[in-house]
């Protein structure tokens, strides 16, 4: 099996606050990983380190065979690869944010085409064509001329998934994609993500939707206080693990 994402001994602190203590895992092509855990356990920070929105202090991340970290600098911190390598890695990763972060001054279609045109140098017409295909896939074919503010939260999140997919990433990351949505809108977004999983899109999903985390994933990681407490198949993590912290975390959800 070829691991498309490899994380080894990743550490990250904000001052005295050790957010990620020693995180290691890997993910194969076409697999889906769900990351669950209480708020403040470091899930989002982990995602942000892997997607280069935060810098890690130590460890290694390898995406698609390319190493983000190439050793240590003089202070003993992780030394990042040269900018061109980081950029290549960046372009092979996509991120869907909790708050969508769509560009409000651009139409839905423009949100989808700006990066393919400006970054990948894709032909304008081709980018539009592809954008429309993605919108159709998201069930938003009629919305291409709309502005994000005219859409519901669920629709906005689907646009932002399409925007990330327009760049044809190797791995798609989701940072609590439904946490900003009204409960009745989460279903439409989860359905889209499930559809991507069926098409063997490699994905890492940080979520508080436990049933979804279990159903969509090949692999589940439970994090607490900056460490991976338990990881394994969904069946193992949700049903068989005897871990106490995991059990008490899960029981809070089943009561909820």
């Amino acid at each position: 099996m070829n691991a498309v994402l490899k994380v080894e001994h990743l550490k990250k602190s904000f001052g005295e606050n050790h957010v990620l203590k020693d995180i290691s895992f890997d993910l194969n092509q076409g697999e889906v990983l769900s990351i669950i855990g209480p708020s403040g356990s470091g899930k989002s920070t982990l995602l942000r380190c892997i997607t280069q929105l935060e810098t890690m202090d130590a460890g290694a991340v390898c995406v698609n065979g390319k190493n983000m970290i190439v050793g240590l600098d003089k202070k003993g911190n992780a030394k990042y690869a040269p900018p061109n390598v980081l950029r290549e890695i960046r372009l092979s990763t996509g991120l869907v944010f909790q708050n969508f972060n769509l560009f409000p001054h651009l139409t839905v279609l423009q949100n989808l085409t700006i990066a393919p045109i400006r970054v990948l140098g894709m032909d304008r017409e081709e980018a539009r064509k592809r954008g429309r295909e993605l919108l159709e896939q998201m069930g938003l074919a009629s919305k291409e001329k709309a502005y994000p503010c005219e859409l519901s939260g669920g629709q906005q999140q689907r646009v932002s998934i399409a925007r990330a997919l327009a760049m044809k990433p190797e791995i798609l990351f989701f940072d609590e994609p439904t946490s900003a949505l009204d409960p009745e809108l989460t279903g439409e977004v989860l359905k889209i993500i499930k559809g991507l999983a069926d098409k063997k899109m490699t994905m890492v999903i940080v979520t508080h939707e436990m049933a979804f985390a279990r159903d969509v994933a090949n692999k589940v990681i439970f994090m607490d206080q900056g460490v991976i407490v338990e990881q394994g198949s969904p069946d193992f993590v949700f049903n068989q693990s005897g871990n106490e912290r995991l059990a008490s975390f899960l029981s809070r959800f089943s009561q909820g």
């Binding site: 996509g94 409000p104 990066a115």
Partner: protein
């Protein structure tokens, strides 16, 4: 009563000078203000501090004094030390207005830039857009919408501030009106000048209202 038919051509001539000061000041101060705003947000103190000092001097001293300082200052500097350039009256006024208004615009633009959520930068960066692309295609268009109301205020103030140019004897609208006031021994020319300013600002207000409406296509 002063003769309006005689008065209007004279005041119109002054108004053209006023418009020239106004137009040139905007032309220079808006790009300069954007640059100053960006420099003020620099992570380097050697850049940030001098820029902050410049802004505080521009906002903390009378524009009248700044006009005088630029005109006479540049004159004495080039006269006695041979360095620098001495400004004629009109360019001195435009230079003083431009650097003064750039400071005000800079603060408005900085506020506008800082009001853009961090997520916009992160989304742009995740998509691989460069810093330049992010600024000019994602951030700046949103900043424009943010800063239009506050900038409109400055622009309207500028129309009236142009009358300060008379301090170094640039014959703009208000100084000519004052001359006519003396000639006719009547304050009537001043009121006519007032109408010029008012109409100009009325048109500007309409223009900005239109722009604001145009930019309202998204929230």
């Amino acid at each position: 009563m002063a003769d309006l038919a005689n008065l209007l051509p004279i005041l119109w001539g002054g108004f053209c000078t006023t418009l020239a000061i106004f137009g040139l000041t905007l032309l220079f101060s808006i790009p300069l203000g954007l640059l100053v705003a960006v420099l003020k947000m620099s992570k380097y103190r050697v850049v940030r501090y001098p820029v902050s000092f410049y802004i505080s001097v521009m906002r903390g001293t009378p524009l009248l004094l700044q006009i005088v300082a630029i005109y006479f200052g540049s004159y004495y500097l080039s006269e006695y030390s041979g360095i620098g350039l001495s400004f004629d009256r009109f360019p001195a006024v435009v230079a003083a207005f431009s650097i003064n208004y750039a400071a005000y615009f800079a603060e408005i633009f900085r506020g506008g830039i800082q009001a853009i959520p961090k997520g916009q930068y992160e989304a742009a960066s995740m998509l691989g857009l460069t810093k330049g692309q992010t600024f000019f295609r994602i951030i700046l268009p949103q900043v424009v919408k943010q800063v239009v109301p506050a900038s409109a205020n400055e622009v309207i103030t500028l129309v009236k501030d142009t009358s300060l140019a008379q301090v170094i004897a640039v014959t703009e609208l208000f100084s000519l009106a004052k001359k006519q006031q003396a000639a006719y021994a009547s304050i009537y020319p001043l009121f006519v000048a007032g109408v010029f300013y008012y109409v100009a600002n009325l048109l500007l207000s309409c223009f900005f209202a239109y722009i604001e409406k145009k930019l309202n296509y998204y929230k």
